[in-house]
């Protein structure tokens, strides 16, 4: 276990390091310089020179990278000149709201997708399985924003059930105080995620159904419901642990779309606004934070998986 831990942790550190290199490279090759952006179009060459010297932008690239890395490690993600705030403070403000959106969608998706996949596996190649498979194929093929638009047309424009705009306000509390406004954004993200998760869940359950231990359980006369709950469920849910970590980038991509569509003031919305304003510090800072969340999420998922299934950690790399 220790060896497995050391290997996975050092891999994750290496990955994070490469992420910073990639982000630094993109930042460097972006058009326009920070000096121009901060001092404005009418800044004199001398002022720009002074700014560059003061901030180390005149140094060699590797030195600049080390300085950048040093700032990152100390939690300094940069300063947004568009929002006139540090990226860190924007993050503290907006991250919880995105976490609320993504977290609740994840939770509901798992609640739906796990039983759905198991039922499909038990009734595989039967009408119910085909129907649910069709739904997940279509859900998987739907552009997230189109799904969101359709939900708005049906439930907001036609039926007047839910507002077409996400909850506004600066804090999670404000978002939670208007739960009906949360319905459509969460539903959009949930449907897309269920389509993805249920396919994995079905595949995992089908694979487990073919295993000998299920046959043994049947042979010793265990009732079907016990086979499903005690044996099948436990074993086929295990791989979902890793899926939750792996799918984080995809779900966050979806969250950007959902937040832009429903005008939900979270990280995704901010990122989208920053793209329009060419606010590179925000784009970079958030990319790093999201990548770090993904890497750490995957690491935790792999460790959880290794704890649950000894075959994983004993596998030669």
């Amino acid at each position: 276990m220790t060896r497995y831990l050391v290997r996975r942790v050092s891999q994750s550190v290496a990955v994070l390091f490469i992420v910073t290199v990639i982000v630094f490279a993109i930042l460097h090759f972006l058009p326009g310089s920070p000096a121009r952006a901060i001092l404005g179009m009418r800044a004199t060459p001398a002022a720009i020179q002074a700014f560059n010297v003061a901030n180390g932008y005149n140094r060699a690239l590797p030195v600049q990278y080390v300085l950048y890395l040093n700032r990152l490690i100390h939690g300094n993600l940069g300063f947004s000149y568009h929002f006139d705030q540090s990226v860190g403070s924007l993050l503290v403000l907006d991250l919880p709201k995105s976490a609320l959106l993504v977290g609740s969608s994840y939770f509901i998706s798992l609640l739906i997708a796990i039983p759905m996949g198991i039922v499909q596996a038990l009734r595989r190649e039967k009408p119910l399985d085909h129907t649910l498979t069709t739904f997940s194929f279509i859900g998987y093929a739907m552009p997230t924003f189109w799904l969101g638009i359709l939900l708005v047309v049906w439930f907001s424009s036609d039926l007047h059930l839910f507002p077409s705009e996400g909850p506004q306000g600066a804090s999670v509390g404000a978002a939670l105080s208007n739960p009906s406004a949360l319905v459509l954004p969460v539903a959009t993200l949930t449907i897309v995620t269920v389509a993805q998760f249920s396919r994995f869940m079905r595949a995992s359950a089908v694979e487990n159904l073919l295993q000998d231990y299920i046959r043994t359980a049947r042979a010793k006369g265990l009732p079907d419901w016990q086979i499903v709950t005690k044996h099948l469920f436990r074993n086929s849910v295990l791989p979902i642990i890793t899926l939750v970590g792996l799918s984080l980038p995809g779900v966050l991509s979806g969250a950007i779309i959902v937040e832009a569509l429903f005008n939900y003031p979270g990280m995704g919305w901010l990122f989208w606004t920053a793209t329009g304003a060419h606010d590179y510090p925000v784009l970079m800072g958030f990319t790093i934070v999201v990548a770090a969340a993904t890497v750490i999420g995957n690491l935790l998922a792999d460790i959880a998986y290794a704890v649950a299934d000894p075959r994983v950690r004993l596998q030669p790399s």
Binding site: S157, I257, A291
Partner: protein
Amino acid sequence: MTSTDVLDPSAPLVPGESAVGGRGLRAAVRDFSHNPMGMTGVIALVVMLLFSFVGPLLYPTNQTHPNLLLITRHPSAQFPLGTDAVGYNVLGRLMVAGQSTLEVGLAAAAIATIVGTLWGAIAGYVGGWVDSVMMRIVDALLAIPALLLVLLLTTLVTPSVVMVIFVLGLISWLITARLVRGQVLVLRQLEYVEAAHQMGERAWRIVGRHLVRNVIGTVVVQATFEVANAILLFAALSFLGLGPPPPAANWGGMLNDGLNYVFDGYWWLIYPAGLCIVITVVAFNLIGDAIRNSLEVRLRSR
């Protein structure tokens, strides 16, 4: 290989044995043609291709000059799917938009497949620290949500179809690289690769002639999924206003234009383009699944 490979939907049952060649290919094609879902996908795809590329020849419409006298007309005999906010014929526009959408999907997947196969094959064959570094780069890029990368890259370039193809291609090769590398790790231990090595074949020749050929099954399956993903990403990009500007047309862009009329009941600006995307993406996913199944069936019957 890490535990996460278990979850890969396109991982073959027996790594390294999904070789397609000679007689095997014919059997795979036969299996495929007997798969109703796969054939549904093929038919849907052919219909969308004909609609997009032959359609405009049979039903030519003006898609470059806005006509403000004809805005947001309801569907009628003259305009079967009405007109949009600047007076374009929506049915005709769907066809033209389909061309660029399909082109972007196919071309981006082609770039992704070539880059990913070579990257994975080299990493797997060379092994050692080169492999480690190459795969950590893949991990790092996979850790950044695709949409974030696309948004970052599109702020760098002026959006055009060619640029979108390159940007999508350059972020879509990661899964392919992982899959190919996993298979090559197994393949390179097989006798025939060892034999080729002993006979003094150069490394690049072994990679190109023996390894890449034997992972083609996996690569083709993944490529069809990448087409579907690229089309969805392209649509997302257009929705966020970062697609090629008008008069260039694509399905995602049409949906984005229709977004302004959600509360006006102009259904023809909201449903048709979305349906086109869904049909095309489902078609590619069905084809990919069917190819994978036909390769796996052959393995089981061996």
